[in-house]
Symmetry: D2
């Protein structure tokens, strides 16, 4: 019960169904005195909104955010910040066919199993539309982190088997927004877009990986033994729709190595203790060490395809399901701002928590 | 702050340093009336304790559990259950050399950065010894889950590049405990043991993967949108020492597939709605669907190696560090009961939470 | 930080300032399948809204509730319920005079001290207007409790020194709503109204006591040792604006008695174990015992008076403050539905928690 | 479920039954670097322990605290502090007669109703012995508060109808520990002691009031709207065994006043904004204002009396109950350190929370 809140000190609670009146978020715990511009929030929402390019869903939602509370004369006041995004393009009829039928690999069956009732329109609460609320709150988290010099950048590093070969250090991450797929390597981006175009025409979908890089994070963030920084990042990332895997630092690749190869040796770099390599991904023992934090999030291909699939209805009777309406062939480009938002929420929370590490 | 508590309703708080007087755990929220046998708890601890075989650390700790509260005449009473494990084999001298020096890829530097003080002996709080407390509490979680017919079994599926080829459905998991490395495939187990022996002699360490399988879990567990069942499993697993990655169901492999290949079609199997395939890993939209839950946890090679490594001390001066004492060449065999314990804690918590899904 | 959430399983988060765009509440954790009628929520809000009678503030707010999420086809779906109440009658100019000056016994000074910034209009977040959000959520809590046969009724038992002499057992609580002051004893009610009228004309304010009675509560609610039922009720009541005291059962009067007088003896009443007297107020050891729960909440006189008062501004300069606009001479009549709402929220939460007391 | 944890950032979890092996507490969230002396903890426990004078229970428990973790070389390390107090004087036979019978106004019946099982010996978990764990943790909270200049002193202000007439400002609180009953007014103390002696001889018990005074608290502590400072104090106090009422500042007396009499006017005292009077009890809008915080806690007479009382057993059969063993005739003298401990825990938690009020 009550699983719609995330964070301990910098804490969000989201609400809203895909085809209800609105979705929204309450952010409680934002320190007072932070400059907050509504257009910075809107800018992040625009990166996530549907209809932004030909390789995303063509559904039209402006996703215009309204601030209902918590900000006065451009600054946070320390009281809860309420952000509301009205739902606009509600073609609920597109979903009449799944009122009873269970879409394969969707949450229709499990919501029914759990609650005995569900708002089937557009996936209801299980729709990825809910993540817009996270992005709005995450925009404020980013503003807080900026005051501490912490910068978060995510990008698409793989679509199916088309992969960026370069590591994040070798890439110019400022190029991420320069193409539709949000991959900072232009050539690879082009191939990814071509693949997504092809898959879309086939009525199919495709998965891949988003990589996230956090620079400027000071040492000390993370609360052992359970609220390790990477453990909270893992939960945050896996809570995003379609995410099936998380790895940080050397990740699964590192599990093939010997300790003598994997260890990051310390050195003194002009009076600052640093590591020569960074297979730890900027986190040791669950606490940031001042190096760059980086991690990967794997996304399965979206379940809604434009082809008929055999299924059953709530009575167990056979029912064919086929995607109607307007859907994404690939979740990855729009997942980039969501990954950043969730990372920002985790880091803002831990940044506040860490203020109390010492007397 | 206060990161030593895990779970919402079935909630544990652990304490203790590697070379302090004791480690322990308080379990709050265990329903009353559960039969609890101290030897069942001890049995799980024995699977985790050091010195159990030649491929684990030779440190000798009996890890004998004491029950201080919460159990009366063999049953839980609904009050907090306090379990204490005294520390016995405290060769603190083995750690004098790292009082100031920072061991590579350990938590020495980050604990110092965060807290400005640390109990350096044996890694203090950052030692994997803390996980014994989790295993003790997890044993009780397993007892609760058994009453609901839920069974958790983990095994070592890969050590470095030596991998079990068979899927979990093809294995006889009752064989897991029949060999030192806890791999249910006897031939692969033999190769893994040989590799670990070799690595140990080289003074090096090696990583790999633990796979965990949950059978008998009813549909309905998981609390969207943030406390999705797999999101909580991810956090639980990443909170274990040396864990660097988590994937469930089809995991990262599934990100290479098309939606039309990946989707799990529903069918009616003798009146029960089931999926033909199980790439979803028993969880859809963050809620269990009644199929088998399975996931992988990647562990990096342990940082403590028996070779000299260049490092620095807290003043930034050069210092050479070399593992002394008795350490594991491979974390995986002893990680198996820890993964099971953390999975049990997550599932017990969600099983209780799910009782309130409906009026 | 993050103090705007109340409850563990049946959990609300409120937001909104007195003169912002809206106030509202997210209710997370309401079990699915509960019948929820918007007009039942509105009815409770109407009991609290300003302008309802001549002895309350004449400010006009319709306090019309909108349901944004969580309810589908008249039933709760298990997802967060978002209720929004737009602010209408925002005469912000009435508050220009206190932009800098600190009103005596208000929260102006402390909000400034804590946050360094405040929305001064109408008291901002510290305004009692926030309690409308609690009443809206409390209405749903009442609906849940009704399914369990639990009934909550509060009334005004004292205004200044005009007191209802009868105990709650001797009163006909169905008379509470029959008069402006919400006192079920008609003669005393008349005297209370006369006093409030007189005080209002004097530009002054007056305090008193609300008594709350909970009938039909089964034995077992309450979670020792900290979340005792009466401890959570105490916190809930003291969180209401102007509340300065709480007592349950025999309360402060009981502290004058001997144990031999005070103890409630058990007896067998037709096969049911009951107490002959009820000085325990229906709660023993922090757990409900099946008898009627009752408690008192003391409210100080409202701080805003229509007379000039000496004060200082944020620079410490002398400033005279005098109430402008439209204010309540007595908080008590409108406090009755707020006390009921907070009691309902506590009981609904504990009712859910108690489902997990036993295996 | 899981009601044995108190606090958000400075957070304790207690465990243990009256006649089990031990009671104890885990304190998580104590900032690193705090000087902690075990004898300061012991000193507070000695103020609470049984057998300390002729007007308390003659049960002999040394209540010797052991530190198991979290403190290294005399300082907190930021990791959980585990404090254990072994149970010594366990005359469990004294309780055989209540294994089935329900003692009037005790928690025997409600624990059985809730959990279906209970450790009846000495009241089990419902015994006031549990508060020793709180006192131990509260001693550390006091140490943290001392670094901020916050001082907490409680005293017995009334036993039955024998009351200290002077206000807390008029008393010399350093006299509190100079007599058995912990009343700083020597003459009144003498009368209280005589009354308790008389009541003890009669085999009866008596209640009263503890007053608590907090000096040196800076403005800004308290987290509206639910976690108001006085709301959290109310919960903390009502969670103590036998507490039946709480009031702060002017309390219930203030509810008889007019607003014009009750308001605390601000003034500039040598550049500091202060209030001329302090009916607000140092808290306005739920946030401390820098003035002295004071509140009263009412305790009912202890339920265990040395006289036969009519009761029933778990089958509803008539059973006579009479106190055996050694019990307190008056809870108040030993409640003083408990009230202080709970106040310290609330203030330490809020002091940490308030660090994040501003960017």
């Amino acid at each position: 019960m009550a699983g719609n809140t995330f964070g301990k000190l910098f804490r969000i609670t989201t609400y809203g169904e895909s085809h209800g009146k609105a979705i929204g978020v309450i952010l409680d715990g934002c320190p007072a005195g932070l400059d907050i511009a509504v257009d910075s929030i809107q800018k992040e929402l625009d990166r996530r909104r549907p209809g932004q390019s030909r390789i995303t869903t063509q559904r039209k939602e402006s996703d215009t955010v309204q601030i209902l509370s918590g900000i006065y004369e451009g600054k946070s006041t320390g009281t809860p910040i309420s952000l509301l995004i009205p739902n606009e393009d509600q073609r609920s009829k597109d979903y009449d066919h799944i009122r009873a039928a269970y879409r394969p690999s969707h949450a229709d069956f499990t919501y029914d199993s759990k609650y005995g009732i569900r708002d089937h329109r557009g996936g209801g609460r299980s729709s990825a539309r809910e993540t817009a609320a996270r992005v709005a709150a995450g925009a404020i988290a980013k503003m807080l982190l900026e005051t501490a010099g912490i910068r978060i950048q995510a990008y698409v590093s793989r679509v199916a088997d088309i992969q960026v070969v370069k590591s994040h250090e070798q890439l110019d991450l400022s190029q991420t927004e320069s193409n539709l797929v949000r991959c900072p390597d232009p050539e690879t981006a082009q191939k990814m877009i071509e693949l997504i175009d092809r898959v879309r025409k086939e009525g199919d979908t495709v998965g891949g990986v988003v990589t996230c890089v956090v620079e400027g994070c000071p040492a000390g963030l993370g609360e052992p033994v359970f609220d390790k920084l990477h453990a909270d990042l893992a939960k945050a990332m896996l809570s995003i729709n379609a995410a099936h895997g998380f790895e940080y630092g050397s990740g699964f690749d590192g599990t093939y190595m010997r300790g003598s190869e994997h260890n990051d040796l310390f050195e003194n770099e002009n009076g600052k203790i640093r590591t020569k390599t960074n297979r730890s991904g900027g986190i040791q023992g669950g606490i940031s060490n001042g190096e760059t934090i980086y991690f990967n999030v794997g996304f399965k291909p979206i379940a809604t395809i434009m082809r008929p699939q055999a299924s059953v209805d709530s009575e167990g009777q056979r029912a064919e399901v086929k995607g109607k309406g307007r859907h994404d062939p690939c979740v990855l480009p729009r997942a980039v701002p969501i990954v950043e938002a969730m990372a920002a929420l985790v880091l803002a929370d831990h940044w506040l928590q860490n203020r109390n590490a010492r007397v």
